[in-house]
Symmetry: C2
Subunit: 305 residues, 2 copies
């Protein structure tokens, strides 16, 4: 199953040329999920060939502008481009008021329904549960209410071992039972154990999106053993005081978190505009957690790769 994330924006609040505020597009089994939607996200989607019309679920972490100011424009464009199918937005409750006010004053009546699911910043909750994944909130510790999002693949069915199956004349109608783990009883009464006919599917993969937050152990347990951890790393660790004052994380801390929770891989992002180049941030994180990458805009990370 396809499970990958494309970075659309990697900057924090103050703008810098050539880095856009935060947004990520997650492709799971060719369904698109958008996480945060900073100003200019639509342009980034055009640049990196992410089809906005294919997004049905948008997750907004919190109401600092660099995480949602591109959303009203996107909602309007979908309307102007003829969208009919519903769009679901998972967000702090106040965002609905902001969006409704702007649509109201522009005298726009959307021709498609927007359904809201409001996030609770105080406890982890499952927001979405479909055939491919579950998505749950990760309560974070920022200056204002903020949640991350944990995307977890569902355990897939077992896989048939074709060479074994073919000679046995097992009715095709019975394949789905085999995939679910059933043994097969031959016409002569012999029992073929399931594990001689099928192999286990790969372990489900997961992606945790943690932005913006102080280093805070309370969310570590929830993201333990995550396959790919995206964690904000606004500052170098020599600005730890500033990070704590503004409720952000340093590159070193992000790496320590990845190590502590036993993540397979770490992406850092949400870089302060003071860093014209990002090498130092990457080096700092890799000194603790070598399997770290930068959230370079346009780059796609395959989860589990």
């Amino acid at each position: 199953m396809k499970f990958e994330v494309t970075i659309l924006g990697s900057s924090s609040a103050t703008p810098i040329f050539n880095r856009n505020p935060t947004s990520q597009a997650i492709n799971i089994n060719d369904r698109l999920y958008l996480v945060d939607c900073g100003e200019g996200t639509q342009q980034q989607m055009l640049r990196f060939d992410i089809k906005a019309s294919r997004i049905d679920h948008i997750f907004i972490s919190h109401l600092h502008g660099d995480h949602y100011l591109g959303l009203v424009g996107l909602i309007s464009s979908l309307h102007l481009n003829g969208r009919i199918k519903p769009l679901r937005i998972y967000c702090p409750q106040q965002l609905k008021e902001i969006i409704d006010l702007q649509l109201n004053y522009s005298e726009t009546t959307l021709q498609y329904p927007v359904e809201y699911v409001f996030t609770n910043p105080l406890k982890a909750e499952i927001l979405l549960d479909n055939q491919d994944i579950t998505v749950e909130t990760i309560p974070l510790n920022h200056r204002i209410s903020c949640t991350g999002f944990l995307f977890k693949e569902k355990k897939r069915l077992r896989k048939l071992i074709k060479e074994k199956i073919e000679g046995l004349e097992i009715p095709v109608a019975y394949y789905s039972a085999l995939k679910k783990g059933a043994d097969y009883i031959m016409p002569n009464g012999d029992v073929l154990k399931n594990d001689t006919l099928t192999t286990d599917s790969s372990d489900p993969k997961s992606f945790a999106y943690c932005s913006d937050t102080l280093y805070d152990e309370r969310y570590f347990e929830q993201i333990r053993n995550v396959t790919l951890l995206y964690h904000e790393a606004t500052f170098l660790n020599n600005m730890l005081d500033r990070a704590m004052e503004t409720h952000h994380t340093t590159a070193l801390q992000a790496a320590e978190i990845a190590l502590t929770v036993n993540a397979e891989k770490l992406i850092i992002g949400h870089f302060s505009a003071r860093y014209k180049t990002l090498t130092e941030l990457l080096d700092e994180a890799r000194s603790v957690f070598p399997n770290t990458e930068l959230a370079i805009e346009g780059r796609t990370f395959i989860i589990g790769d």
Copy 2:
């Protein structure tokens, strides 16, 4: 006196790669005035080296998102970058409510004052009158309340003819009277007429910003003899029906307006995303009004040039 306009965005509501929604920066005597502020305007200012910190006046024509969605981000960035001096915003009254709501929910208390001057869509009013210019609203005819803006240079003082003045031992303290048109009485009682000592300054120049609007004769008189007319031209004239339905103008109509009001030069912009290239729009306008240019992003037009 410097009087020029730099195009920051030229697209209409639906996004297109490499064209940003509407915004223009006007430089008058090295003071910056921003007109409209579509999503991504901050990035465009960085790209074209327009210093946001030097903007003291922002004019917003109307509350369709492609004309103002970049404003809250800009206001926040000025705050984060340490602005202290006031910012004045000329806009429809409801914009204050939109901005206040977003600042409120992001728990941002600006460290500089924002002063609002609300525009009246029904009649032309002078919004600003300083040593360099006056700025007045142009009531336009759009689906929602919308005003354009007319920037008019003030008549400058007369210029001294240096060669004439130098031999006459006229006290320097009297120069300002000469510039204002006074004659000079010599110690012997002879009168030197002002026009032998000074020349008239050049005619004041003007810039009219007209976006978005139906072709509507009611605003033509106000922009008669304008030096540089920016007029929206969302569609080619073969889409006149669509232009009328959406309260927009075609390239042909924009050119007819420039001709009718005796503009010196025309810039067309606010192009529909359906036009991947703009040559046809330019050709259509030039067939009626040859001195037409496209609002290409990053291009600076000197008013009167």
